[in-house]
Subunit: 357 residues, 4 copies
């Protein structure tokens, strides 16, 4: 109800502010007896953490996960997994100049209106720092899904106006981490990185998109009507900070097509010859690849002066200070994979209740 | 869990197949003492019903709602509202030729895989007929929201490659129903209608987009982290049949922008001078208009032959028969308004729990 | 949230007031492919309906269930089951004298305080008439559970101070309906019936208890901590009108015992030699019989004058009028079975998510 | 779904095993701006902790709560409260002799059946240690409720066959902690303590009951039909380890009464002259005191030999070893208060959604 949980059977609840002592969460509904490799969780956290390259924020946080329960001898016990990540490099004083100011396109104003106060130190609960907890749960979900053959990967498909023109079928998941922007097309990656450096030097930021792919998903996942698989994916993805759009399969481009172009013909192997549907029909997976794309707005914190107002309503200038990302997409790749894994595993478990025996 | 409910406090649960005796639902969490005009519910249903114009399916259904409970002397009692809509014009025999065939880009195959059977008669539960129940709940939610000043309207913003180029600020909600396509820009509307007629004559179908606007929403609605207002809107909208994409405010175009262009500067009236955010920041409404766009794929049922396979896996041809929409968007306008109203009212009620007194 | 739904996977939502046109509901999460015999649903409704014997209310209602969806050729389709029961014998005028009066120990006052109005005609939503919808869902759940061997039965174990002294192990489920009080011990049944007749003639009412038994339940149902199987059973049972107490296994008597008396020793067949635990340990079924007892208060409507106050706060007298039950327990037997079946089936389905494969 | 959460708006999710490094939880839906005194939380934890008197287990645990988020300068921020309690005195080796044995009337067998393994060290997740997390949330809920005038207290009303004969109206909440058994009737308390000492010396254990009272609750809390206030209280209380029974107001005794004795007559002040209803009518509070009683079975761990079986199914003897409570009720008093506070606050917040404005 208060919005800090996601999932129905496999369910993550998170807590923590960017400048408190720790963030953390509880993962409930983890099936028992699944192999969980804690190092692999840390590897996903490391893909998200600040300070990993020259095109991300220079804040240093190790983002080390500490697990209290629910895993024993590298296996899930079926009990909830409680965990925290200590906040190590929180320089609250970096934010002192913002105490009475509403930063443009941040959550300062809306939190103030809703709760009667706000946490000016890095955004408090509205900070993207909270997404580290999603990565913990997502990395666990990805391991469980991998044990039944389901694979999830994501990559940066555009930065500003620079697109990766190749479709995902021509790209390789193993190439994603070969460069710091996480685009498996090295030519596009180079252009994207150059663009981010340019923008960063100008004290500006830039948006981008990420494409996510799910392979080897069985047919039958997803519920009709309101909890269609792509409706739940859309919610999970749109809940990530800075995401402004979601499209499945043919997406917005599909709205410009004719039915005779768009329909996916089924062949004798029960596969479709095209996949404009993006692997989901009537809200339920059909066994083809699921793929979708998320749009991220440019980061709102600039290294430039911006006009704004104070709590008291007087005009002021927000100074560009602190350590921030010029573009959020490279660090958001594991977050998108995580939200996808959480959603797919939840539906995998939900689907088990469809029949009595 | 089984996907037939939406909302947390204001909550709709629906039932019914396109070719059963009736569809219907229960609306729970309706606050007591709200004025409910049943004629206005019927008016919204009439905007959705088949056979309303030459560019919609020629099936005739009156879609008359019958309410059993929860409304007394035109006021909500706080008790759940149970209702049905009788199915009147169900020609099941129209579908006999499809009994053993998987129609391309329909839910036939996925339902068969999930449930071990499927309803070939008009798609059963996967039929868009189910959305009539959403309109009943949405029309009630719209009336309750209107009583606190919140207005919701939607319009067709593109059909295939024909766009309504004007932004919503230059359009008038009162003009939406002035034409059968429900685009308040009459020039664009004429081109859209002509395009649909062309497509229909070719036995084909075409996609489109709908834009939805929420005026006069108070700041503070939406929950942080997972139940961000736009995440719940995305889910609600993506759960509508044929929707493939959702974008809030600047949306996908925003991903191509710089932060210095995209940020919405707050002026001394606490309004923003631009509204790329689409009225939501950090998942919470900021008091500006909320606006978003949904992409609809072309209807999958064509009046043409299409190759497919039978249940047994042998090749077959799906004949183009029956009465179907060449383009879904004009009838989807009230559905989009309804899902928006359900979501906004739910968050309006949720927000009341934010403080003790 | 508004309290008209129960269950998580197998989930019933009900609507309707005692003096509206119909009551009804939606049953979601019904697994697909289960045999559903509609006559058996009606048989359970007939055990609950008014006017079935001289010791129940003389109101006549056929309580015929009309099902709209979710069942096809006597099998569940996996889609939600929507249904109504028409209200046939509603004599609203019987209640005219109560329009401005709070009846003692009814919900008149509390509904007025909560909703700003109330339905004086038979209690509206607070009427026990609503339990007919529970019986529809319960009868379906009982059939599905029976298909996996789980049997549920209940019987009247006391009326006022008259107890059925035999434990359930010495009674037979087939004997429950051999008499109108539904106590399988004929000697006790005769005394109970005589007592109710006596009380009825005096214009009074009397309370009682019902015992419920679940046979052949597999070990492993129930969730640790908050959703213990008996915690969910307690909620389901306590939600039935007039229930004031619930006890599992040894219950209140168990609180007077020593651990050395109370512990259930496990033998080599993995059965326990005693069953003070009532078939549940740590919130999870252990494969032994589950048994529990519910206490029902005497019906609040008397055929006698009672002092009370009007809405305006002036003193008045509530006249004893209308057609009411002198004792609720014989008609409550199928309701208790139903709430038990709903809860057990829900946990049966929940348990399927405990493991990945 | 997996049972580790309770509440709808005010919602607690817990994690942790008795012999892991820590237990903890997340409290979501805390309204913003409420005064929270962390010392008072610790005081309630101290009332629950082991080793507090000669009649409780001699295990020493400080049970110090560590809060990570959601409270700032002694006020709730509206953000989720994450917390842990370190496990300090876990002597896992105490349990080595139990590794392959099912202890009688414990959850060993049922966890093994459900999850394919179990935690023999103090019961793991099924240990009453988990209830410390409930006390953290309950103590916060009690403080918020106190700020709107609602008071909750509980006391031991029986130990084995020794009853506190006085009704709660003749007892004082300030006297509860005047003795180690937490019975405000000193005469009864002395007899209870003597009985526990006797039982303890015999290596045995004994059950008991606790009565809980809620004062100054407004009329209107609770939802009709399934989420009746007492149904949710019953679930919350029955979810506490060792609870076997729950009764509201007149309870089981009420089932033996006549309607003419049991009905609560409303006087001109809108109070009832008796309160057999226990403050709840039709599932909704009527403004009178709520009171109920919970039955606790005797602790299953004895300091005596008991026969049982091993995992392999061979007969064995469970030795009486370790440090355990001879009677659970004195330490359970704050747990019962906590579950009550969690439930009442949740319904207090739910009730705010009943009207639009």
């Amino acid at each position: 109800m208060a919005g800090n949980s996601i999932g129905t059977i496999f369910r993550l609840t998170t807590f923590g502010e960017s400048h408190g002592s720790a963030i953390g969460g509880v993962i409930d509904g983890v099936p028992s007896g699944a192999e969980i490799n804690i190092e692999k969780i840390q590897q996903q956290l490391d893909r998200r953490r600040p300070g990993q390259s020259k095109i991300t924020t220079q804040r240093k946080e190790s983002d080390t996960v500490q697990i209290f329960s629910g895993i024993f001898e590298n296996k899930s016990t079926g009990m909830p997994i409680g965990f925290i990540i200590q906040n190590s490099d929180a320089k609250s004083s970096d934010y002192d100049h913002l105490k009475d100011t509403f930063r443009p396109s941040h959550a300062d104003f809306t939190y103030q209106e809703k709760y009667g106060h706000r946490d000016h130190r890095g955004g408090g609960r509205s900070s993207a720092r909270e997404t580290a907890c999603r990565v913990v749960a997502g990395a666990i979900a990805q391991q469980i899904l991998a044990s039944v053959g389901i694979e999830i990967w994501a990559y940066v498909s555009s930065v500003g106006e620079i697109d990766c023109d190749k479709p995902y079928q021509e790209l390789q998941s193993t190439m994603v981490d070969q460069n710091i922007i996480r685009c498996p097309d090295q030519g596009a990656a180079n252009r994207m990185i150059a663009r981010i450096e340019e923008v960063r030097k100008a004290g500006d930021t830039v948006g981008g998109t990420i494409t996510c792919v799910v392979h080897s998903i069985p047919a039958g996942l997803g519920e009709p009507v309101f909890d269609k698989l792509h409706a739940d994916l859309a919610k999970a993805v749109m809940s990530i900070n800075a995401v402004k759009g979601f499209e499945l399969g043919s997406g917005f481009e599909g709205s410009r097509m004719l039915g005779s172009e768009h329909n996916d013909i089924i062949d004798q192997t029960k596969k479709t010859t095209t996949n404009h549907s993006g692997g989901i029909q009537g809200g339920i997976s059909n066994g083809m690849d699921i793929y979708f794309r998320a749009a991220f707005k440019p980061v709102a914190t600039l290294m430039r002066d911006q006009p704004s107002i104070t709590d008291a309503g007087t005009q002021t200038v927000v100074k560009g200070k602190g350590r921030h990302d010029p573009c959020v997409v490279p660090r958001a790749v594991p977050i998108l994979e995580s939200m996808t894994a959480i959603t797919i595993l939840d539906h995998y478990l939900r689907n088990k209740a469809t029949k009595v025996t």
